[in-house]
Amino acid sequence: MSIDAVRKSACANLIIALLSDVHGNLEALDACLKHAGANGAGRYAFLGDLVGYGADPQAVVDIVARYAAEGAVVVKGNHDDAVEKTPGYMNESVRAVIDWTRNTLSDEGKVFLSSLPLCIREGPICFVHASAASPKRWYYIDSPAAAHRSIDAAQTAYTFSGHVHDQQLYFQAVPGKTTVFRPVRGSPVPIGRHRRWLALVGSVGQPRDRNPEAAYAQFDTERERITFYRVPYDHVAAARKIRQAGLPASIAYRVEHGI
């Protein structure tokens, strides 16, 4: 290995790819992993909801389990949790997908999902699917106040979450006041650890901002910068697979149109 290659791989470990809400969308996950690898990611964090909605839960769980074996961070999302026991709040079409997912997944896959922790703290970072304030209740971070509660509960400089499918960066410019910033794709944002930040990294497998491109983010731990990305992928193929699997057409439509 050349000096440059060694240096490159040493640097690569400092960049964490943050992927959330894959929702069984293999095409989107492949595209994001490829993009992250090409952009220097050396570590991976999956922020929950590996399954639900998409037609490839088994393939997605297999990939993530492989990354987990190599040291990736993986936390549980509400859809992963629902595979074990369907909760009352899910609507009919989501429930249909969860039932189908349960029947499709291998036993190992189901064990992998149920073994996932709700929240992982690692140095200055807290990884959690929904709110760090009571992760099991799956509160949406949909306001500065909700972000504030999660940041307070996390007690870390950085909280990285999904659940809400939008990309948002909440921050505390002055202690006690939480503000929201809508990131611009591909523009690195300095996020120094002397402040508290909560990033919603967007959804890999089911974006809902009328843009079907997959969403994820990368955190450069050394330079303390976060970059939000959108990655084009074959969303038409992903939607076709959902229809072919006999899942609700409304879900295929959402993947096609990013809604």
Partner: protein, 462 residues
């Protein structure tokens, strides 16, 4: 013994301000004179000075070009916060102003250079928000550099000052009505401040004084400044028109981009004069009272990126071949221009005719007399654009002579922040226009903006 920070040797302190101190530094083989900005950290110092420092440390490295200081190094904010930039040699506009109001040609030169700098900043999605003579450096090459980005808004970065309205507002005499209301994302705020600076350059006075209270600051939401021509008889109507247009209380009534200010300052004979130009007193009591009433509830904020906001006003240059008025391409070019101008909310059309001439270049615009050598071409240009029925305020006409028309067009377009050049392609069956081929290709190759080449299909010509 000298102090060393991160390999920089700290020299003499050259400034001590509210936000921190500035020292000359050497070292690290940067090859340019440098300064280091250090924030105040002492106990009892307010937190906002650090937020301003952090804002500058975040935004300045993302800016580039001749109008901002180049960043050499930024220290780790948590350990050794500092910013080292190149030292910009020049005189601050504040020093220039101490010598009193400036003659009109100087106002034009400095004002246009300042507008160029502001426009370049806006195109990078940043709004300075603290434009004042103190923060403007006149460089030896005639360009202007802006300094101090501690209050700057950048649409690609979180706004650390969003919740800090008390400290985010800028300098009382210069800030825009939007800033008074806590809105920090509108590039037209800088246009207002630019208007205050031009007013000061022209009259030596501040249009809204130096307000010390919030009520005093809010005055500019409705108050009519004393027209500059009342304060100084040297101020021509076109300059008053430009200044008062910048100072409109409502952002949508101002110039929508600094590029248009630079253009008007450089082509005073083409400024469309409105009643603003001849205003000889402030609006009457009832008019002002009505504006005051309306301003009570002002809140609106733009939701667009600054570069997108300033790009809603497009500057389009059309190169018209007035040597060949019967050319088959003219109707097609007129249709193209009409279509292009129907899209943006605000636009400026610059019609240019370049006459192929000797080695020397010359030019003219606006009013001419029949004895001028270019008069015929100017008349043809006016006839060319007449069917488009554009208001005079959106139009300017220029006849220029050059041995190298392509180069002339490219330079003229760049100087005037043109967004799009429209010109005709050489047509295959017009061999007598062979030189035009080189113009179209030359402009396309070298222009700094987009180029729309209008080609008339053969069938249409035969």
């Amino acid at each position: 013994m000298s102090t060393e920070i991160d390999g920089f040797i700290v020299g003499e302190r050259i400034h001590s301000g509210a936000m921190g101190d500035i020292f000359r530094v050497t070292g690290r083989n940067a090859g340019v004179p440098m300064i280091m900005k250090l924030p105040r950290f002492a106990p009892g110092e307010s937190a906002e000075s650090l937020i301003n420092f952090e804002t500058e440390a975040m935004i300045l490295p993302a800016l580039s070009g001749p109008h901002v200081p180049r960043v050499i190094s930024v220290g780790d904010l948590a350990k050794t916060p500092y910013i080292v930039t190149e030292w910009i040699e020049g005189e601050s506009l504040e020093q220039v102003l101490k010598r009193g109001p400036l003659p009109v040609p100087e106002i034009v030169r400095i004002g246009a250079a300042l507008a160029d700098a502001v426009h370049t900043l806006h195109l990078q999605d940043a709004v300075h928000l603290d434009l004042k003579p103190d923060n403007v450096i006149l460089k030896a090459d005639g360009e202007v550099a802006l300094i101090d980005f501690g209050l700057t808004f950048h649409a690609r970065f979180p706004d650390l000052l969003a919740e800090e309205q008390r400290f985010a507002a800028g300098s009382a005499p210069y800030i825009s009505p939007e800033q008074v209301l806590g809105i920090r994302s509108d590039p037209r705020s800088d246009i207002f401040s630019l208007g205050v600076v031009l007013y000061e350059l022209a009259t030596g006075k501040l249009p809204f004084g130096v307000p010390a209270t919030m009520a005093g600051l809010r005055d500019r939401l409705w108050l009519d400044p004393v027209p500059p021509r009342i304060r100084s008889r040297e101020v021509p109507p076109w300059l008053q028109e430009i200044i008062l247009c910048c100072l409109e209380p409502r952002a949508e009534n101002r110039y929508q981009s600094a590029a248009l200010i630079a253009f008007d300052l450089r082509q005073p004979d083409q400024v469309a004069l409105t009643e603003r130009a001849y205003k000889s007193r402030q609006a009457g009591f009832f008019m002002q009272a009505r504006r005051w009433w309306r301003a009570r509830g002002e809140r609106a904020a733009p939701r667009r990126m600054p570069a997108t906001q300033v790009s809603t006003s497009r500057v389009v240059l059309v190169a018209v071949d007035t040597m060949h008025p019967d050319d088959a391409r003219h109707p097609s070019m007129q249709r193209t221009v009409a279509r292009i101008l129907s899209i943006p909310a605000e636009y400026r059309l610059i019609c240019v005719s370049v006459i192929r001439g000797g080695p020397g270049t010359g030019g003219m615009g606006g009013a001419t007399s029949p004895t001028d050598p270019y008069h015929d071409h100017l008349v043809r240009l006016r006839h060319w654009v007449e069917p488009l029925r554009l208001p005079a305020s959106r139009l300017s006409l220029h006849v220029m002579e050059s041995a190298d028309p392509a180069e002339m067009l490219v330079q003229f377009a760049q100087r005037n922040h043109v967004d799009l050049i429209v010109l005709g392609a050489p047509s295959p069956n017009q061999l007598r226009l062979a030189w035009w081929r080189s113009v179209a290709s030359g402009v396309t190759a070298n222009a700094h903006c987009s180029v729309h080449v209008v080609r008339v299909p053969d069938s249409a010509e035969t």
